[in-house]
Amino acid sequence: MRKALSSLLRLLLLRYEITCLLTLIALFAIGGYLNRALFDYYTLSTLLTFSAEVGIIAVGVAFLMISGEFDMSVGAVGALTAISFITLINSNLPGFLALLVSIGLACAIGLINGLITIKSGAPSFIVTLATAFTIRGILLIVTGGFPVSYKGAILPLSVRILGGSLPFGLRLSAIWFVVAVAVMTLVLEFTRYGNHVFATGGNPTVAREMGVNTSRVKLINFVLTSFFASLSGLFIVARLMSADPLLLTGAELEGIAAAVVGGCSLLGGYGSIVGAALGSVLISLIRVTLTLTGAPVVWYRSIVGGILVATALIDAVILRKLRQKFL
């Protein structure tokens, strides 16, 4: 029994996600103590809905971070996808075609981000920040700053498949989120491409010498990040039937926070998609708990910052000691 427990502890300590999981459990416990409504099925399904919208972005951001790059344009790309989709279906374009065009546009932006970053050698943080400003500016000009709403009563099937309602307050976006986490985890941890991603982020020089095409890995990951960002925009359209040009402002930082809290290294080469997913649940849980308990929601950013620091400290102090003892 003792040996089994010791093995389980060693297994847990090896995982990047452990700190995030512990923090999540602690916050659930505190939030539930302060207001039992946190455990209601409606609250939990609401939490899943929020987590899916942030989390799908975090999946892409984490994947890219592990390969050693950042994308600060994910929020803007999500907003662009949402607005372009609504504009196209309002113009009577068939739903699936509008979906393909909107997602295609997002992926094209990912490709541009990747090409500029790789060819110019400029930091991806700056390149994608510039992309974000450009996209936001265009959206503000085109929309005049006002939201764009779907004119019909029921959205096309193409977007309802992505984010439509299910019984008990659940949404399809939560299911797609889980699927995305599962698929990307499999790719990252069980495929050769996943090894290449870790290698590219961990030590690109050595990776290149080992035969990894690091430029291609990064380019693919930039496109994937924008793809997942576009899904977030579409999840929101399925829920709100509208989008404003400032939609998903701050989502890039929330995505990075979720990834870091979930164990991804800012320096690349290290991280987990499951961790990023747990991180996004944690961030959504903070917002829900603040609202349920009546705490001032203006504290949200400070608390997320505090959790980031606490997670880093717990990892640096407590878990490092445990790893030294048991591993």
Partner: protein, 331 residues
């Protein structure tokens, strides 16, 4: 290493204390009416900062009411909706909310009403046909159906007092064509103008102040008999006031507008703006909290609309409005 240990323990203790400090308001407190105030923008927006402060002031006077303000820092329908969904999960007694997107809010608000949560709309109502509207108990804010006509009537009557006749021509500068509340304001002005046989045109002046000035300038050059410029918000009012000053047309071209700002209040003092109509944001906030309280505690059912405007502001009552601005932060 020693410092890291200390800091991590302190950080953990801080967050535990933070969490537990809210326990008395939830787990152990005496039963209070819980009311959520959920506008579409928060303290970073001066208009909403005024409302939030006033809502909290009124709530502080009511010992058995707990007001919880949840709002995105800046305008965001998505974040407002997220807060709404979380608020509904808390099963409060009432929700006060701006209907910033009726379609998106329809389902969650109907769910809230079905669960017995009192819903009060504030500042923006559901403009859809009556059979589609969200069945909130009341709307507290400016009645946009009459704001334009009240502005026009007041302006034309004062013009008549000053000049012994009605204006030869008027123009309406609309800074966001298609925006339903602005269109309703404009319709009201056009209705009154038509009744008095005053030629009036609606002009898309855009939200860009430089463009707005140039468009109005070009219109005035083409129609030199224009004697009244109506604008429907500060976006249009500021360029109009600047243009009248630049042209030296004070007293020859009258400005009248909806919604206030410090520049507009200054223009009223200087005699450039003859009439302004206000929706009194502080009144909206105060009235909404008190209306919720009266219903929850005493079963007092409010009327379908409680208008906080159109309230006419002129040089005569400017000192009162300035007092409102000084004490509440806005008007």
């Amino acid at each position: 290493m020693r410092y890291l240990k200390l800091v991590s323990i302190l950080a953990l203790a801080f967050f535990l204390t933070l969490g537990l400090s809210f326990a008395p308001t939830t787990a152990f407190a005496q039963k209070k009416f819980v009311v959520y105030f959920i506008p579409h923008a928060g303290m970073a927006d001066p208009f909403w900062a005024t409302q939030i402060k006033m809502a909290k002031r009124v709530a502080a006077l009511l010992p058995d009411l707990e007001l919880r303000v949840t709002a995105p820092e800046t305008y965001s329908i998505k974040k407002q909706l997220d807060y709404l969904m979380a608020a509904i999960a808390a099963k409060p007694d009432a929700i006060i909310i701006t209907i910033s997107d009726a379609k998106a809010m329809d389902k969650p608000l109907r769910k809230a009403i079905k669960e017995g949560i009192l819903v009060i709309a504030i500042n923006i109502e559901d403009y859809r046909p009556p059979d589609k509207r969200i069945p909130y108990i009341t709307y507290i804010g400016m009645d946009e159906r009459i704001s334009g006509s009240v502005l026009a009537e007041e302006t034309y009557n004062r013009f008549h007092e000053m000049f012994g006749r009605y204006p030869k021509r008027a123009v309406i500068g609309i800074h966001q064509p298609g925006l339903i509340c602005l269109e309703m304001r404009s319709d009201g002005i056009m209705r009154v103008s038509k009744k008095l046989n005053i030629p009036v045109e609606k002009l898309d002046i855009t939200m860009d102040p430089t463009k707005a000035m140039e468009i109005l300038r070009a219109y005035l050059a083409k129609h030199p008999d224009t004697e009244v410029i109506f604008t429907l918000g500060p976006c249009g009012s500021h360029p109009a006031i600047k243009l009248i000053k630049e042209l030296g047309a004070k007293g020859k071209i009258i400005h009248a507008c909806i919604d206030l700002s410090p520049k507009i209040l200054e223009a009223i003092k200087e005699g450039i703006t003859l009439v302004a109509v206000s929706q009194q944001p502080a009144f909206q906030a105060a009235q909404s909290v008190y209306t919720a309280y009266l219903y929850l505690k005493y079963g007092i059912i409010p009327p379908k609309i409680i208008p906080t405007g159109p309230t006419v502001v002129t040089k005569e009552n400017l000192s009162v409005i300035l007092r409102q601005v000084k004490t509440t932060g806005g008007a």
